[in-house]
C-alpha cells in the first residue's frame, strides 16, 4: 500500500470514528431507501404492500448482519463493540449491586496495597530524591575480616585511604569524607556547656551531594586552605531551638570546645547525610546539630592514618563510569600505595582487606532488604489472594450467566467476542476498583506521612503523588481485571463449545467438571495463602513476646534515669565530684527511693556505646600489642547494685576507691571469659587507651587493677546485643562531662521526677537536666521496630482473612444456590435441614484442613528464609503452627456455617418448576 493510500485510509478511519453516530443513521436511511425501492417494484408486479415488504426483507437478507459487514469497512468495529460492551457492563454492575460492591472492595484494597508497595519502594529505593546525582553516588569502605578485625560491621575507611583516592582516582568526579565527633558548646547564658554530637564534613562531600544551604553559605576548600577553618554551619532544628530562627545569626560566634567558631550558614530542614545502620556506631536517626570542616591532619598521611577506619566516604562517579571500573582502579591505587606502609600492609593481608563499593541507593536499603522483601511478599500474597478470590467470584457469576452466553453463542457471537465482552466487564470493575484503591492509597499516604517510620527504614519513606504512581495504579488495575477476567472465563469458554454449555445449562444445574476444577483450585490457593500469612503473623507475634521477655542482665523495674550536663569551665573535677555526691545523697534520702547510683554511659540509655581499647598485662608481657575494643563506663559505688547487676567475684567499688581516685576496675563476664578464661581475673592488670595514639604502656600509671567481675548486661541493643565486653571505671577517677543518675523507686518511678528536679534546683538550678525517662520507657523504644513489623503483618493478615472470609461466603452461598434442587429433594425425602447444613460445614472443614496443612508447611519454608526477623522462634514452632491452623479452620467453618443458614425448607415443586 502506498503512503498516500495509507493516509487516505487513516483519514477515512478518523472520519468514521468522529461521525460514527451519523454514519449509523445514514446506513439505516440507505437501507430503508433500498427496501422501499424494492417494495415499489414488487407492488408494481402485483403484490400487496404487506406482501411486497415481506418479500423485500426476505430478499435483502439479515439486515443486522449486513450492517455489521458495512461497519467492518468503517474500521471502527472494535470501538463500536467496546462502547456497547461498556454500556452493558455498567448495567450488569448496577443490576448486582451487592456482588459488585464486594468485588470492587476486594479489588480496590488489593490494587491500593499493591500501589502503596510500589510507592514505598519508589520513595526509599528507586527514586529517593535525596540528591541530584544519586544514581552516580557510591559508598566506599574498607572491610576487614578475621579475629580482632576493627570494623566487621561498620562500613568505614581510614583518612589515608580517602586522601589517596581523592588525589589519584580518575574514575571519580569527586569524593567526600564525613564523621561524627562529640563537642562541647557554650550555652547562650554563657554559664553552662552542652555536649553535642557534631558532624565533621569535607567541602568535597557537600559538592558530591550537591547540597545547598538554607541561609548563608557552606564552607569551601578555600576556607580550609586559607586556614579559616573555624567556621560552623548550624542544623535547622538547632538554629531554631538555640537562636529562635534568627537570620542575623550569620557572622556571629559560637564557642565550640572553647574555640570561637564563626557561623557562616544554616542547613535546610531536609538536610540529610546518610549513615549506614551500625549497631555499635552512629545512630542512623542522628540529626546534625551543626557541622564543622573535616580537616586533614599531619598524622593522616602516616601509617596511623592508614590503619584507623573511622571515616565515612561517598564518591561521585564520572558519567559513564561503573562501580566495577572504580573497584578495579581503587585496587590498583591500593596495591601501589600499601607497600609504603609495611605494618598497615601486613594488617591488610592478615585481615583479608577488601574494598567495598556499593551504590548509595543500595546502601540506603542494605539493612532493610529483609523487611522490604517481607513487605513485598506479604503484599504479593494479598494480591494473589484477592485475584484468586475475585476470579472465583467471577467464575460463579459467569456460571450463573452461562445460559446468556449460550444464547449469544447460538446467535453467532464468536468465542473471542464473548471473551472480549467478559474482559471489558471485568476491566470496568477494575477501573471502579482503581478509584477505591486511590482512596485507600490516599489514607495510607496520610498515615505514613504522619508516622515516624525511622524504625523500619533508614530513609523514612515520603510517598509522593506522581504521574508514575497513577499510571502504575491504572496499569495494575487493568492487569488484575484482565487476569481475573481470563481466569474466570477458563471454565466457561472451553473448547467443547457453547452448544455443550447450553445443553448442560438446560439439563441440570450441576456444574461442569472444568468449572468445578478451576473453582476448587482457586479456593485452595486462597485458603493456602491465608494460612501462610496468618501463620507467619503468629511467628512474629511469638517473636515479639520473646523480645518482651529478654533479660537485659539487670532489673529494669522501677528505675528512673536522668542525665545532667556539668559545665566544664564552671565545674572543675572536685566540683563535679561534689555535685554528683550531693545529688546522689539527697536522692537516696527520698522516702520513695530504694537506692541510687551514678553512671557515665548506663545501659540502653544513649542508643550507642562508648568504647575504648584495652590490653591485658599478660598479653603485653607476651608481646601482643594488638589491643581489642571494649565498652567503657564510669560508675560510682552503688550503681551496679542499684541495677541489680550480679557480682560474680571480687567486689563492687567502695568509698575508699572513690576517695583515693583509685585506678581499680571492674570487668564483666565477657571480658573475663575472653582474656582470663583459665585464671582468676581479680588482681590482674589492664591498660586502656582512648586515643589512636597510645600512651606509654610501660608507664605503671597506665595500668588498672581488676577488683571485681560482674554479669554482662545488654548495652545498646536488646535484640542484637554487642559481643563486646564492658569495663567499669571509678567515676571519681574517670570523671565524665555529663552523667546519669539512676534511682530505684519503691513505687512508680515517674513520681521521682519532681523530687529530683527540686534537688537539682537546690544544688544548682543552672545544671541542665536531660532525658528524664524510666528504664521501661527506654526498653519500649527498643521494641518499636518489632511493634511496627508486627502491626503491618497483622494488618495484612487481617486484610487477608477479611478477603478470604468474604470470598468464601460468596462462593458457598453460590454453590448452595446452584445445588438448590438437590438440596430440596434431600430435604423433601426426609433429611433434616441441620443435617444438610452439617454436610456443607463438614465438606468445608475437610477442604480447610488440607489447605491449611499445605499453607503451614509453606510458611515453615518461608520462615527459614526470614529467620532473621524472628527472635528466638523456631520456624517449625508447633504451638504457633497448631494455634494458627486451628484459628483459620475455625474461621472457615464459621463462614461455612453462616453461609449454610441460607439453606431453608422450600417447596420442592416450586424449585423443580423454576429449574
Amino acid at each position: 500500500m502506498t503512503t498516500r493510500r495509507k493516509a487516505r485510509s487513516l483519514a477515512y478511519l478518523f472520519r468514521s470514528f468522529l461521525k460514527s453516530e451519523k454514519r449509523q443513521d445514514e446506513l439505516d436511511e440507505e437501507f430503508q431507501f433500498h427496501l422501499d425501492m424494492r417494495v415499489r417494484d414488487l407492488m408494481r408486479s402485483g403484490l400487496s404492500q404487506a406482501e411486497a415488504r415481506r418479500e423485500a426483507v426476505r430478499e435483502f437478507g439479515g439486515v443486522q448482519q449486513l450492517k455489521e459487514q458495512c461497519r467492518d469497512n468503517w474500521g471502527i468495529r472494535l470501538y463500536e463493540n467496546f462502547k456497547r460492551d461498556l454500556r452493558y457492563s455498567w448495567r450488569q454492575i448496577l443490576k448486582q449491586k451487592r456482588f459488585s460492591v464486594v468485588i470492587i472492595l476486594i479489588m480496590g484494597i488489593s490494587i491500593g496495597l499493591n500501589t502503596l508497595m510500589f510507592s514505598l519502594i519508589d520513595s526509599v529505593y528507586l527514586n529517593p530524591g535525596l540528591y541530584p546525582d544519586e544514581d552516580r553516588i557510591v559508598r566506599i569502605a574498607d572491610v576487614f575480616s578475621g579475629r580482632n578485625a576493627r570494623n566487621i560491621k561498620s562500613w568505614m575507611t581510614s583518612p589515608l585511604y580517602y586522601l589517596e583516592r581523592k588525589e589519584q582516582s580518575r574514575v571519580l568526579e569527586n569524593i567526600g569524607v564525613y564523621q561524627t565527633d562529640w563537642a562541647i558548646v557554650r550555652d547562650l547564658d554563657n554559664r553552662s556547656n552542652s555536649p553535642y554530637q557534631q558532624l565533621l564534613v569535607s567541602p568535597s562531600l557537600l559538592e558530591t551531594l550537591s547540597l545547598k544551604p538554607f541561609l548563608g553559605r557552606f564552607f569551601t576548600q578555600e576556607d580550609i586552605d586559607s586556614g579559616n577553618h573555624e567556621v560552623v554551619i548550624l542544623g535547622y532544628a538547632f538554629w531554631h531551638n538555640r537562636y529562635g530562627g534568627d537570620p542575623n545569626v550569620i557572622g556571629s560566634k559560637m564557642l565550640i570546645d572553647d574555640e570561637p567558631y564563626t557561623i557562616i550558614g544554616v542547613m535546610r530542614s531536609d538536610f540529610n547525610i546518610p549513615f549506614g545502620f551500625d549497631p555499635d556506631g552512629t545512630d542512623p536517626r542522628f540529626e546534625t546539630p551543626f557541622m564543622t570542616p573535616w580537616i586533614e591532619r599531619p598524622w593522616h598521611k602516616t601509617a596511623r592514618g592508614r590503619q584507623h577506619n573511622y571515616c565515612n566516604t561517598l564518591g561521585l562517579l564520572k558519567p559513564g563510569q561503573t562501580v566495577q571500573n572504580l573497584k578495579t582502579e581503587l585496587q590498583e591505587i591500593n596495591s601501589r600505595n600499601s607497600p609504603l606502609f609495611p605494618e598497615a600492609y601486613r594488617y591488610e593481608i592478615e585481615h583479608a582487606h577488601e574494598i567495598a563499593i556499593v551504590p548509595l541507593k543500595d546502601d540506603l536499603v542494605r539493612n532493610v532488604r529483609t523487611q522490604l522483601s517481607l513487605l513485598l511478599i506479604s503484599f504479593a500474597f494479598i494480591l494473589a489472594m484477592a485475584c484468586a478470590n475475585v476470579s472465583s467470584l467471577f467464575l460463579s457469576q459467569n456460571r450463573v450467566r452461562s445460559g446468556e452466553f449460550g444464547i449469544r453463542a447460538a446467535l453467532g457471537a464468536s468465542r473471542l467476542r464473548l471473551i472480549g465482552q467478559i474482559l471489558i466487564e471485568k476491566c470496568t470493575y477494575s477501573f471502579l476498583s482503581c478509584a477505591v484503591g486511590l482512596f485507600f492509597l490516599w489514607i495510607a499516604h496520610t498515615i505514613i506521612s504522619q508516622t515516624n517510620l525511622y524504625d523500619l527504614f533508614l530513609i523514612p519513606p515520603k510517598p509522593r503523588w506522581s504521574y508514575n504512581l497513577l499510571i502504575y495504579l491504572l496499569i495494575s488495575g487493568v492487569a488484575i481485571g484482565v487476569f481475573t477476567g481470563l481466569l474466570s472465563t477458563l471454565g466457561i469458554i472451553s473448547k467443547e463449545g457453547f452448544g455443550k454449555m447450553m445443553k448442560e445449562q438446560s439439563r441440570s444445574s450441576t456444574r461442569g467438571k472444568a468449572a468445578k476444577r478451576y473453582q476448587s483450585t482457586l479456593l485452595w490457593c486462597q485458603l493456602t495463602l491465608s494460612t501462610v500469612i496468618l501463620v507467619f503473623g503468629g511467628f512474629l507475634l511469638k517473636s515479639f513476646v520473646q523480645i518482651l521477655k529478654i533479660d537485659p542482665g539487670f532489673d529494669p523495674d522501677n528505675l528512673y534515669t536522668v542525665s545532667f550536663n556539668l559545665a566544664d569551665s564552671d565545674y572543675d573535677n572536685d566540683a563535679k565530684r561534689q555535685f554528683m555526691a550531693e545529688l546522689k545523697k539527697r536522692t537516696q534520702e527520698l522516702s520513695d527511693v530504694e537506692s541510687a547510683g551514678i553512671s557515665f554511659f548506663p545501659p540502653l540509655k544513649w542508643g550507642g556505646n562508648h568504647t575504648t581499647r584495652m590490653v591485658t598485662e599478660q598479653d603485653w608481657i607476651q608481646g601482643i600489642r594488638d589491643s581489642s575494643i571494649c565498652i567503657q563506663d564510669s560508675v560510682d559505688t552503688t550503681f551496679l547494685a542499684t541495677l541489680d547487676i550480679s557480682l560474680i567475684s571480687g567486689r563492687y567499688f567502695n568509698e575508699s576507691d572513690l576517695r583515693n581516685n583509685a585506678r581499680n576496675i571492674i570487668i564483666d563476664r565477657r571480658i573475663a571469659d575472653k582474656h582470663f578464661n583459665d585464671t582468676d581475673p581479680i588482681g590482674k592488670r589492664i591498660a586502656l587507651r582512648n586515643h589512636p595514639s597510645p600512651p606509654d604502656r610501660d608507664n605503671p600509671g597506665n595500668w588498672y587493677t581488676v577488683v571485681g567481675v560482674v554479669e554482662s548486661v545488654v548495652r545498646s541493643n536488646l535484640i542484637d546485643p554487642s559481643a563486646m565486653g564492658t569495663i567499669y571505671r571509678n567515676v571519681n577517677e574517670y570523671i565524665p562531662y555529663w552523667f546519669t543518675l539512676v534511682a530505684k523507686s519503691k513505687s512508680n518511678p515517674t513520681h521521682l521526677r519532681a523530687s529530683i528536679r527540686d534537688i537539682r534546683n537546690s544544688i544548682d538550678p543552672f545544671v541542665v537536666m536531660d532525658k528524664e525517662e524510666t528504664m521501661s520507657e527506654i526498653m519500649n523504644k527498643q521494641h518499636r521496630f518489632n511493634r511496627y513489623l508486627l502491626s503491618i503483618v497483622s494488618l495484612i493478615a487481617l486484610i487477608g482473612l477479611f478477603i478470604t472470609g468474604i470470598g468464601l461466603y460468596g462462593i458457598i452461598r453460590f454453590l448452595i444456590t446452584q445445588n438448590r434442587k438437590e438440596i430440596s429433594i434431600r430435604i423433601a425425602l426426609g433429611e433434616g435441614i441441620h443435617k444438610v447444613r452439617l454436610n456443607v460445614v463438614s465438606y468445608w472443614a475437610k477442604i480447610s484442613m488440607i489447605s491449611t496443612i499445605i499453607g503451614a508447611s509453606l510458611t515453615v519454608l518461608l520462615s527459614i528464609k526470614f529467620e532473621t526477623l524472628l527472635y528466638k522462634v523456631n520456624p517449625g514452632d508447633p504451638f504457633v503452627l497448631l494455634f494458627s491452623v486451628f484459628f483459620i479452620i475455625l474461621i472457615i467453618i464459621g463462614t461455612a456455617w453462616l453461609s449454610s443458614t441460607s439453606i431453608k425448607r422450600s417447596n420442592l415443586l416450586e424449585v423443580l418448576r423454576v429449574e
Partner: protein
C-alpha cells in the same frame, strides 16, 4: 442463472460497480438496476453483497458518496467514481480482458 451470479468473485463485483458509475453518480439501488439492465438481467447481484462492496470501495478511495435527491424526490446516498477509481477501473478492465482472452484461447485450442 442466479446461482451463477451469487458466485461472482469479489474482484468481478468491484469491477461491475465501478463500471456502472462511469456515466453518472448512482445510489445503491440504481447501481443494482444498472448492472442487471446492462447484463440483460443475466447478472443478478445479491443485495446483501452490494453494500459491503460499496463501503469497501469507498474506504479504498475508489468511489465517494454524498446525499442527494432521487428521481422520486427522496433523500438517497449517491456514489460517484473518483480519479483513483477511474484508474483502478482501467486497470481492472485490462486485466479482465486479458483473462477472458486467455480463457477463450484455451477453450478454442481445446
Amino acid at each position: 442463472m442466479a446461482n451463477k451470479t451469487n458466485d461472482l468473485l469479489q474482484g468481478a463485483l468491484d469491477l461491475l460497480v465501478l463500471r456502472s458509475l462511469v456515466s453518472e453518480p448512482r445510489h445503491g439501488w440504481g447501481i443494482l438496476k444498472r448492472i442487471e439492465q446492462s447484463s440483460k438481467e443475466v447478472l443478478i447481484i445479491h443485495q446483501g453483497s452490494l453494500y459491503p462492496a460499496l463501503y469497501r470501495l469507498e474506504r479504498q478511495g475508489f468511489i465517494k458518496s454524498e446525499f442527494g435527491l432521487s428521481e422520486n424526490n427522496r433523500k438517497a446516498k449517491y456514489y460517484s467514481l473518483t480519479k483513483q477509481g477511474q484508474a483502478q477501473l482501467d486497470h481492472e478492465v485490462a486485466n479482465w480482458n486479458q483473462f477472458a482472452s486467455a480463457i477463450a484461447d484455451v477453450l478454442q485450442t481445446a
